[in-house]
């Protein structure tokens, strides 16, 4: 395909592949008679793999595409790969979930792919209009995904709640973006950023606060986190994996871009804001998680706390902090997907009513899965030799490098706090005997999920022992954007 310079679709091949796969999956779901729903899943997985291959073949370049609306730099490519990873893990878990549920809403697969296209576009966006449009592109399918089980009350509630609060936050962000345009006279980051830096005064800070409010909402940072536990609990488990990982990854990437190129002149201000937000998010997430009985809600709060750790790296402005953030995002996706995957292990675990007691004595029934989950929990808490430790270490290191020792100390303290509830799961699995009578999760142990957990645990251990495998691409992504 040829076109005017800067309008060639080549660098956007992954998005195009994914979009095609979404349409194909939709068609398969609608028109193939028997097994069409599962087939749509396979098509989607193949589409993600193909998009991944296209991504690997795309050379990073700092050139502005489509009149300065998009850039496919190394940073964008890295984050897109993480988004694809999150989507792929979600679909694998969805196979298991829908087997147990005996009902498979096939539209889940094309919707997830469409959302991913939006996220990937958002990551590349270098213009406030593109940013907003791609945000909506991934937000709207997300609302539907959260409420996909129409007959399950909590699922419907999750969908509605997510929709109302999400559109509200989008509107607030749009207002902020309008301020940006009004103050700078441009929609492109490259022009608006320097213009904002020349302005002083509170107007820029108002614009920044509004934009950040919208972004913090999607990243589930305190005080915009209220929706998260309800939505994660109400959504079907694989979709909770999706909603708690992929959008967060994309939004954090957008935050990095916005902070550096749009509000680069306000670094001290946003750093201070993020420090406060980070500490509040970590403490809130961890303390609230301690009081939960439902595993899923506990993991929902844990996902909030994990976002708080990421904010440590964001507030430590500079390359070290951003590299640490990119490293942590990838690790976070694996950790979180595996933690939620635990709920899907056994037939009984419908994913809605799993309590800690249901995990009792799991090591007897499913030793491989239990040990794998233990590794994942250690990673979430940040205990070596797992990638979770390395990720937190890099974040703390970045903070200390900027003189934010107390922030790092708060992060370290939170890693101890989080162990209270992560080890409640570990204790139930390893130290407590199963309750008399059939346990809620005492069904046939799923081979698919066991393999999934084992692979995730192995990946976390390998990255914990050899973190350079991931820091090298992460550092390159930061240097070349």
């Amino acid at each position: 395909m040829t076109g005017p310079a800067g309008y060639a679709p080549g660098p956007l091949a992954p998005e195009i592949v994914l979009l095609a796969a979404a349409i194909a999956a939709l068609a398969v779901h609608l028109f193939v008679e028997r097994g069409g729903r599962r087939a749509a899943g396979y098509v989607s997985l193949a589409g993600i793999a193909a998009a991944g291959a296209a991504l690997a073949l795309t050379p990073p370049s700092a050139a502005a595409l489509f009149g300065g609306h998009l850039a496919v730099d190394a940073f964008a490519l890295y984050v897109k790969a993480v988004v694809l990873l999150a989507g792929g893990l979600t679909i694998v878990l969805a196979f298991r979930f829908f087997d147990v549920e005996r009902g498979e809403p096939g539209e889940v697969y094309p919707l997830a792919l469409l959302a991913m296209v939006g996220m990937m576009a958002a990551v590349s966006a270098t213009d406030i209009v593109t940013t907003y449009v791609s945000f909506e592109l991934f937000a709207i399918p997300s609302y539907v995904l959260a409420g996909i089980f129409k007959k399950e009350r909590r699922s419907a509630e999750a969908g509605i709640k997510y929709f109302f609060l999400g559109t509200l936050s989008s509107a607030i962000m749009l207002l902020g973006l309008a301020f940006v345009f009004g103050l700078s006279g441009s929609t492109a980051y490259a022009e608006a950023g320097p213009a904002l830096a020349r302005l002083d005064g509170s107007a820029v800070l108002v614009a920044m606060s509004l934009v950040f409010a919208g972004l913090f909402f999607k990243a589930s940072l305190v005080p915009f986190h209220m929706w998260a536990p309800d939505v994660y609990e109400g959504a079907a488990t694989p979709l909770a994996v999706f909603l708690s990982t992929a959008p967060k990854v994309a939004v954090v990437a957008v935050l990095v871009r916005v902070m550096t190129s749009l509000f680069g002149g306000q670094a001290p201000a946003w750093s201070a804001v993020l420090q406060v937000v980070s500490v509040a998010t970590m403490f809130w997430g961890n303390l609230a998680a301690m009081t939960q009985k439902s595993v899923k809600r506990m993991l929902g709060y844990s996902a909030i706390a994990q976002a708080g750790y990421v904010a440590i790296g964001l507030s430590a402005w500079g390359e070290t902090g951003r590299t640490a953030v990119l490293f942590y995002l990838a690790v976070y996706v694996v950790m979180n997907a595996a933690a939620f995957g635990l709920i899907l292990l056994a037939d009984g675990g419908r994913g809605f009513d799993e309590t800690v007691d249901g995990l009792r004595g799991l090591v007897r029934r499913a030793p491989v899965a239990a040990v794998s989950v233990l590794v994942v929990l250690l990673a979430l808490a940040g205990i070596p030799p797992t990638a979770g430790f390395m990720g937190k270490y890099f974040l703390f290191n970045a903070a200390v490098g900027k003189g934010l020792v107390l922030l790092a100390a708060a992060g370290a303290l939170n890693s101890v706090l989080s162990l209270f509830y992560y080890f409640r799961l570990g204790r139930a699995m390893f130290l407590e005997e199963a309750l008399p009578g059939p346990a809620p999760s005492a069904g046939r142990v799923s081979l698919l999920v066991t393999v999934f957990l084992a692979v995730a645990a192995a990946a976390l251990l390998v990255l914990g022992l050899l973190p350079d495998l991931l820091t090298t691409p992460a550092a390159r992504a930061i240097l070349e954007y």
Binding site: F396, L413, S415, R427, P467, D468
Partner: protein, 499 residues
């Protein structure tokens, strides 16, 4: 440096982990094979650590057998192992006690055997790694690796309140270690490296005020592990609830990780702060000595008594380290080994009784000497070693510490000496109540004396108790140079002042 063509330190560190994988591969039903494999590997590790002695050059105070590989390029962390006489002694202690503890579990552990030995071997890799790592991040990783298997050893095979004790142990220690991690990060900011040897070579780089903060962060990590008063409250719970082998490792090795941390990292890397805080630490150590001994006197449970006696003994070690004289510091290192041997053996002895009677209450026993003469004899030797009877190991360490402390302050020495007296009191009283008198409790009538396997587990400990007590020179030769080197960094005034 290699021995026989293999990187010996890596080999020693990861041989237990290799054993762990072998045990993992065995089917869970083949209990005998699992036991044999675990014991063989624990024995092999001990032999491998003995091999270190062959090539070790005691005349040099430097790190030996150093292995250095780049590890995490992003932050400049290295895979850096090395050992001097201090590490060597502690590694030998670790491998010996792990072997003894594994052997002692042969009949004691009946449930979930495979997991038990897996955790034991993983624990050993972590402990040896702690004593060999010279890169602070690597050290931290090994330090934390120790926590998880210990948590499970207490939590699965422990006593009644094992869940509470296990999580208390884990959280306490983790809290200390994350503080230490922040300290490591700040220290790295000043030195731009994690390499211990480079930090020592660089000398006084860190400003004194900053040293104080880092020292406090390290203090939290190490003092909780030692444990120093007032951070000792996890210890009685963990010791009492842990299975016998767990208590042996906990008291014998894990507590030494704390005092080793002070000696290896706090003293030489933060000399100004160490000097400044030394009186405070000595004060805490003296409180621990007296308080630990007094609380021991009042215990009804044998294991709890020994646990509190550990607080007292570790107070001695800390006193020796922070008197900042070479003699006291050498005594402290030797006392670390002595405490590992005698307290490890005491826990084994209590374990023997517990296996037979399923109680540890002192009041349940009495007059056992008539029924179990061999047991009584072994108990007597170990109790005397713990008290510090001349001719046995405890005396040498405590005497060196007191000698080294006396010139600094006779008051410190006097307070510490009362601890020895109290130590004799609670130990002898314990012995008297358990062994002497008439055998009145009918449940004790049928007690069996030590079996050959049990005696075999005690034999190496008893040999060492006498060896160190009568001829400690080979052990002191090992630590002479490295300890002096560290004290010279932290307290150069001691070597200059003519007296």
């Amino acid at each position: 440096m290699n021995v026989l063509g293999i990187p010996i330190l890596t080999f020693v560190t990861f041989l237990p982990a290799a054993g762990m994988f072998v045990v993992l591969l065995l089917p869970g039903s083949r209990t005998r094979a699992i036991k044999i494999a675990a014991n063989v590997f624990a024995g092999l590790v001990f032999l491998a650590t003995l091999l270190l002695l062959v090539r070790f050059d005691a005349a040099s105070g430097d790190m030996q057998f150093v292995e250095r590989l780049p590890w995490i390029k992003a932050i400049g962390a290295q895979y850096l192992l090395g050992l001097d006489g201090i590490s060597l002694l502690l590694v030998l202690l670790t491998s010996l006690l792990t072997f003894v503890a594994t052997l002692s579990s042969w009949g004691a552990v009946k449930t979930r055997l495979k997991e038990y030995y897996v955790f034991m071997l993983l624990l050993e890799t972590g402990m040896i790694g702690v004593f060999l790592a010279l890169d602070l991040i690597l050290f931290y990783v090994f330090w934390e690796v120790v926590l998880v298997p210990m948590y499970f050893l207490i939590g699965v095979w422990g006593g009644e309140r094992r869940l509470y004790a296990a999580i208390k142990f884990f959280l306490y220690t983790l809290f200390g270690s994350v503080a230490m991690l922040v300290g490591i990060l700040v220290l790295r900011g000043a030195h731009q490296t994690f390499d211990w040897t480079a930090m020592v070579a660089a000398g006084a780089v860190v400003p004194a005020a900053l040293q104080g903060w880092i020292f406090l962060a390290f203090f939290l990590g190490f003092a909780i592990k030692v444990p120093m008063v007032p951070f000792h409250t996890w210890l009685p719970d963990a010791h009492v609830e842990a299975p016998t082998a767990g208590s042996v490792i906990l008291a014998g090795v894990l507590l030494k990780m704390g005092s080793y941390g002070f000696l290896r990292f706090s003293l030489p890397l933060l000399p100004d702060a160490s000097r400044r805080f030394a009186p405070v630490l000595v004060g805490l150590a003296l409180v621990a000595i007296v308080y630990g001994a007094l609380v021991s006197l009042m215990q009804k449970d044998m294991k709890k008594l020994i646990a509190y006696s550990s607080v007292s003994h570790m107070g001695f070690v800390m006193l020796g380290l922070f008197a900042l004289t070479p003699l006291a510091a050498k005594g402290a290192v030797l006392q670390m080994v002595n405490h590992g041997l005698s307290t490890g053996a005491l826990f084994l002895l209590v374990g023997v009784l517990y296996e037979r009677r399923h109680t540890r209450l002192i009041a349940e026993f009495g007059g056992l000497a008539a029924r179990m003469p061999v047991y009584a004899a072994v108990f007597l030797i170990i109790a005397m070693s713990s008290i510090g009877l001349p001719g046995l190991n405890g005396f040498v360490g405590e005497f060196m510490i007191l000698m080294g402390v006396f010139p600094v302050s006779w008051i410190w020495a006097a307070v510490a000496a009362t601890g020895i007296v109290l130590g004799a009191a609670y130990m002898l009283w314990l012995y008297q109540r358990v062994m002497f008198g008439r055998l009145e409790n009918p449940a004790n009538e049928t007690l069996r004396d030590l079996t050959v396997r049990e005696l075999a587990t005690f034999l190496p400990l008893i040999v060492l108790v006498f060896w160190i007590g009568i001829f400690p020179k080979p052990f002191l030769d090992l630590i002479d140079k490295p300890v002096e080197r560290i004290v010279r960094i932290v307290n150069p005034a001691h070597f200059e002042a003519p007296r």
